[in-house]
């Protein structure tokens, strides 16, 4: 789960990480009031959406007067921000963070990741702040400093000092850097975050370190024990179909093709998408019905897949282990009947109770297209979808 920048900064503040004075607002009038309250000569107005690249997209702007802050807030609020992560349709800005602007002397990067190779939380730092760490990692990997943290003792002072000296934070800045790193680590550990980063961590006037931007993601599997973090979830930032799917115990991710997919197991779901792609088709979604899928769960899967108007056919690929093909088949029939589905449905069933499942499909009056294996299923899906696409006569353009 992701949260907004202002929420991340609120959290970090509690762990002793210094952030600029500021507040989140929903209207331009509030923006002006906040600017006045926090004082200063210049302010930054920052669009609060779950996406990187907000600055480049015009979502982060500096105002030199209260009036300017108001105008900028008015322009950003309610606009659709298009970044490299939002897609062409952009993301509606519902709130902005108004902060005192700082005179930046130098920018650094400090982050924490859960490193799969060492199976530990690892501190990552760089003197190249303000740019994406992935870019630094690719272009100048030698400029990235790493320090692996032993979970038995946590991040130690000497480790922070090592990292600080290596990126060039010394003198009066050293104790501040240690405090920031330890605060970031405690915040990550105490709240079951899966990543945390401050970028940039800046030296501003009077040798002060300040977290100018920060980002945290949280482990969905640990939210049950982090109620205060769960409350930070912003459903406006998520695909409503994906939210609904999660509510039904389904794992759904929207893609941009036209072959709807209903599969059990994440690996097989990805492989099914791959098989469709390799046959020249385009999957409309990733959907994993999970283990122990009841007929109701299968019917819900249909409902969610069909909310996508681009879907022209549905491919069902089930290899039942703890699932049962007869339950899946019953769910398919239920969906066909209750949701009045007319589009071609390709079904591949294998594994537990496969004979019973096929018998249920055969006994129904619906014209299922039965596939014998994965290749057959993908090939039949692509043939069907191509038939539909060819039948649609392109509209003559009225204006050119």
């Amino acid at each position: 789960m992701n949260i907004h920048e202002y929420q991340t900064k609120d959290l970090l503040k509690h762990y002793g990480v210094p952030v600029p004075p500021g507040r989140v607002v929903h209207t331009d009038a509030q923006a002006a009031t906040v600017a006045e309250e926090i004082g200063g000569a210049r302010w930054v107005v920052k669009a609060q959406i779950h996406s990187g690249g907000r600055g480049k997209a015009g979502g982060v702007r500096v105002g030199n007067s209260i009036d300017e802050v108001k105008v900028i807030a008015d322009e950003i609020l309610g606009s659709l921000l298009v970044t490299h992560q939002t897609g062409a349709e952009g993301r509606l800005v519902r709130r902005v963070l108004v902060e005192q602007a700082s005179n930046i002397v130098r920018e650094y990067y400090v982050g924490l990741i859960i490193d799969r190779a060492t199976r530990r939380i690892t501190l990552v730092a760089s003197a190249e702040g303000g740019v994406e760490i992935e870019v630094v990692a690719k272009e100048t990997p030698e400029r990235i400093i790493r320090e692996v943290i032993d979970p038995a003792v946590g991040l130690l002072d000497f480790q922070c000092r090592k990292v600080a000296y290596k990126v060039g934070l010394k003198g009066a800045l050293l104790p501040q850097a240690v405090k920031v790193m330890k605060g970031l680590y405690r915040c990550m550990r105490d709240n079951d975050a899966s990543m945390a980063e401050i970028n940039p961590l800046a030296i501003v006037d009077n040798d002060q370190l300040l977290a100018l931007d920060a980002k945290m993601s949280f482990d969905d599997n640990a939210l049950y024990r982090r109620p205060t973090i769960s409350e930070l979830r912003d459903f406006d930032e998520e695909d409503p179909k994906e939210v609904e799917a999660t509510g039904h115990g389904l794992n759904y991710i929207a893609l941009d093709g036209d072959v709807g997919c209903i599969v059990n197991g994440a690996g097989l779901a990805m492989a099914t998408m791959d098989a469709i792609t390799l046959q020249g088709g385009r999957p409309a979604n990733f959907l994993d019905v999970g283990g122990g899928a009841t007929p109701e769960k299968v019917a819900n899967a249909f409902r969610i897949v069909l909310q996508d108007p681009a879907v022209k056919i549905i491919l069902i690929n089930i290899f039942a282990g703890i699932n049962r093909c007869d339950w899946i088949a019953t769910g398919i029939i239920q969906a066909m009947r209750d949701q009045n589905i007319k589009m071609p449905i390709i079904v591949r069933l294998a594994g537990t109770n496969v004979e019973e499942g096929r018998a249920i499909l055969n006994a129904s009056k619906f014209p299922f297209i039965i596939a014998s294996n994965l290749t057959d299923a993908a090939a039949k899906a692509v043939t069907e979808v191509n038939n539909i696409v060819q039948k649609v006569v392109p509209l003559k353009k009225e204006h050119s």
Binding site: R119, P151, D219, Y224, G267, F319, G321
Partner: protein
């Protein structure tokens, strides 16, 4: 495969009297798995499935000589159950739970350091050695004894590969799911080494997916250390970056996480690679004939 689950293995289940453990313990016993008892705190001294129930893993090990444990505890309690098994000296620990907090696994892996325990999973279908037994949730009827070792992150994709192999008459020496989580107990390379040392395995199929470095790390290890043919597939060719594809660990965070990057790297390291998931069985057959 003799290392993880063999004829001499003595298997217990943790969370034994629960619904899932009961069902899968019965299934395991049907195919001959040597189940010797189980653990459910508070139910020690009773019998379940005609086997003794113990309050602690330590007691179970003392009384039965158990060396393999299947953990069916739900995610919030799984880390504690794993560490209890490690403490009791269990050698092979199979963790079925899907949804263990990742920082719990970071602590578990730290606790395991310096012990002889091997953790299979979490978020795994488990281990099956056809003809000997299983500890896990996979449908055993699709597997058949043979000489191909399988190691995979995904469960159902493992079944898919088995079905394709069965059509071509190929059986399995063992099939091991290492699980779909970002921090897991055993990586591909560790299982590859076990298969390389196993006299009952002729070739190994490795089924990976997007996210993380371990497929390529394993391929690098294999190039140096493995003489048996190694076949690899990576799911998620069409997965978009930055999205978690069902498994907690299946997410493209950098270019090297993509299926194409991993397959290209594996091919460059001399592995037999499968680009289309429909060709898994055929590629295994080609590899053992070469």
């Amino acid at each position: 495969m003799s290392v993880l689950l063999n004829k001499d293995s003595r298997v217990i289940f943790q969370g034994f009297t629960g619904q899932h453990a009961t069902f899968h313990a019965e299934e395991a016993m049907k195919i001959g798995t040597n189940v010797v008892g189980g653990v459910t705190p508070g139910k020690g001294g009773t019998q379940h499935l005609n086997l003794p129930v113990f309050d602690t893993v330590e007691e179970a090990v003392q009384a039965t000589g158990a060396d393999v444990s299947g953990i069916f505890a739900p995610p919030p309690f799984a880390a504690d159950a794993i560490m209890e098994a490690i403490d009791a000296g269990i050698k092979t620990i199979v963790v079925i739970a899907d949804g263990i907090p990742v920082q719990d696994m970071v602590r578990v892996e730290r606790y395991r350091l310096g012990t002889n325990s091997i953790i299979i999973g979490p978020n795994t279908p488990g281990i099956i050695t056809p003809g000997v037994g299983k500890v896990g949730i996979m449908p055993s009827h699709i597997y058949s004894p043979g000489r191909i070792g399988i190691v995979s992150r995904s469960g159902t994709l493992n079944y898919e590969a088995v079905a394709q192999m069965s059509e071509l008459g190929l059986g399995q020496s063992s099939s091991i799911g290492i699980g779909g989580d970002p921090v897991n107990g055993t990586d591909f390379a560790t299982v590859l080494k076990a298969f390389e040392d196993d006299p009952e395995t002729d070739a190994v199929l490795m089924i990976g997916e997007i996210g993380g470095p371990q497929e390529v790390d394993a391929a690098r290890w294999a190039k140096k250390n493995m003489r048996k043919p190694l076949i690899g597939y990576v799911a998620g060719l069409s997965a978009p970056p930055g999205r978690r594809m069902g498994h907690a660990g299946a997410i493209i965070s950098s270019e090297s996480d993509t299926a194409t990057a991993k397959i290209d790297a594996m091919e460059a390291l001399g592995m037999f690679v499968v680009r289309n998931p429909a060709d898994i069985g055929a590629t295994v057959l080609r590899a053992i004939k070469s």
